[in-house]
Symmetry: C2
Subunit: 308 residues, 2 copies
Amino acid sequence: MRSITVKAPATVANLGSGFDLMGLAIHQTADVVTVKERSDNLVILQEIIGDGGLLPRETAENTCTVAIVSLLKHLDSNKGFDVILKKHIAFNSGLGSSASSAVAGVFAVNALLGNPLSKKELIPFAVDGEYVASKGFHGDNVAPCMLGGITYIQSLNPLCIEQLAYPENTFIVVLYQYVKVSTAEARAILPKQYDKAVVIQQTARTAALLTGLNTSNDKLIQFGLGDEIATPYRKQLIPHFDTLETEAMKNGAVGFNISGSGPSVFAWCNGEENANQVKQAWQTFMQAEGQPFEIYCSPINYEGVFIC
Amino acid sequence: MRSITVKAPATVANLGSGFDLMGLAIHQTADVVTVKERSDNLVILQEIIGDGGLLPRETAENTCTVAIVSLLKHLDSNKGFDVILKKHIAFNSGLGSSASSAVAGVFAVNALLGNPLSKKELIPFAVDGEYVASKGFHGDNVAPCMLGGITYIQSLNPLCIEQLAYPENTFIVVLYQYVKVSTAEARAILPKQYDKAVVIQQTARTAALLTGLNTSNDKLIQFGLGDEIATPYRKQLIPHFDTLETEAMKNGAVGFNISGSGPSVFAWCNGEENANQVKQAWQTFMQAEGQPFEIYCSPINYEGVFIC
């Protein structure tokens, strides 16, 4: 019986003004999934390591196995698989933890089946998997986790996903604080409606982000990494939001915002040296606060999920 | 006493999902302005040709002279000028008529003064001029009229305008029907607020438009030329809107929408042959309807205002 192990990276979704639409992949951290063929047609989640026993073990309830089952059904396959899931991305961290497990699952199974589908074609099945955790079909974590780089999702049905250009030297610094932001609360806090002027400002930011990425214009990227839909409301759920933003910008970051629905935040930096400066400033501040945290610092991950 | 004559093209603003932000210049039609030095420091609108006597003749009330006065004030200049304005762009047509006169005025005067400012730097003064006609500071007609091409305005203060890439072979077909759409009505008909899902769809369209323009992807451009803010409400003010859209798309247009706040509409076409097909289809339909109209068909005007 053959087996395969794959690694699916953490992602920053709700990328600035690309709320619900855009995301990017980073190098640290990543979920690792091992999939082994079975002699029957069952999909069994044999083990989850690193979740403190908190994630569901039932095939029909875990994002990874739900995604695999959705893929097998589409392929009309009668194969079965054992799954071992090593969680490194904290769930409810705003770093696409559930998307990562789902992507890893379908990517691994597809590889064992001889790659009947492309990475892009696998996305809808990973989105099916993520749905059981997030109750939403967005794909703005799934797409960059699968494909790498920065992705923009025009629509999931029919599937229309674009990989965006970005300045080569871009580094992302992510700060994850060990605080719980309930996804339900992060959703409930958003307005149902927005003023026309706010809509225009949001589209101005989106146009700036796309133009800035294409022309490596930091000023446009900065404006485009701002957001009118979620950030003004969700920032209050994130401890030290304003200080972290000030520290990032004071230390030369191009932009700053919430990763996913938080509590993680990210700084967009031009070059490794700048990224290290921001990382250092955040570390110093968080250590003085005495709150537990993680910092991840890397270039944008251009590859996405891969076979270990 | 020296004089100069300049030509400022018609423009398509509210370009799809770039409502209030994006516009493009076309080749036909254009306003022509002649400016002559005076021996005193007055700015006098000597003559307007082609407006049927409908536009204001007072220096403080005409967009062209208001723009000139605003520029002269900024330059702390004590020069005076006579102005002759030949209107070719119908006002209230949705083709940036008032912006065109304002752009022509400041561009001509700046040239006679030895070009103290760049075209881009002239934009705020043309916007001041347009304000007396439109009562709004947007610049999405002024910018493409001045610079040519497709422009995106991130902000007017501080001035941040980008010229966007677009597929080389793009042709624009504009249909202007002789019907009056009151700007006040076109404004009043828009909602004050929009649902969150609508905001996200609009930003998805904007991201598609920018990505499509950069990668010459017609499918993305088509989606991006759609609009959620104004089109669903204003289309009812434009006779035959649905038929004109159907005819354009049936004849191979990439996209279709309202130009400015109407009544003009435009089709985005890939190549001259396709543009002529759409033009022909619209002509046949409008002639059958027996309504008066104009059709303009040209590549995107990459130059903007120029000295004749």
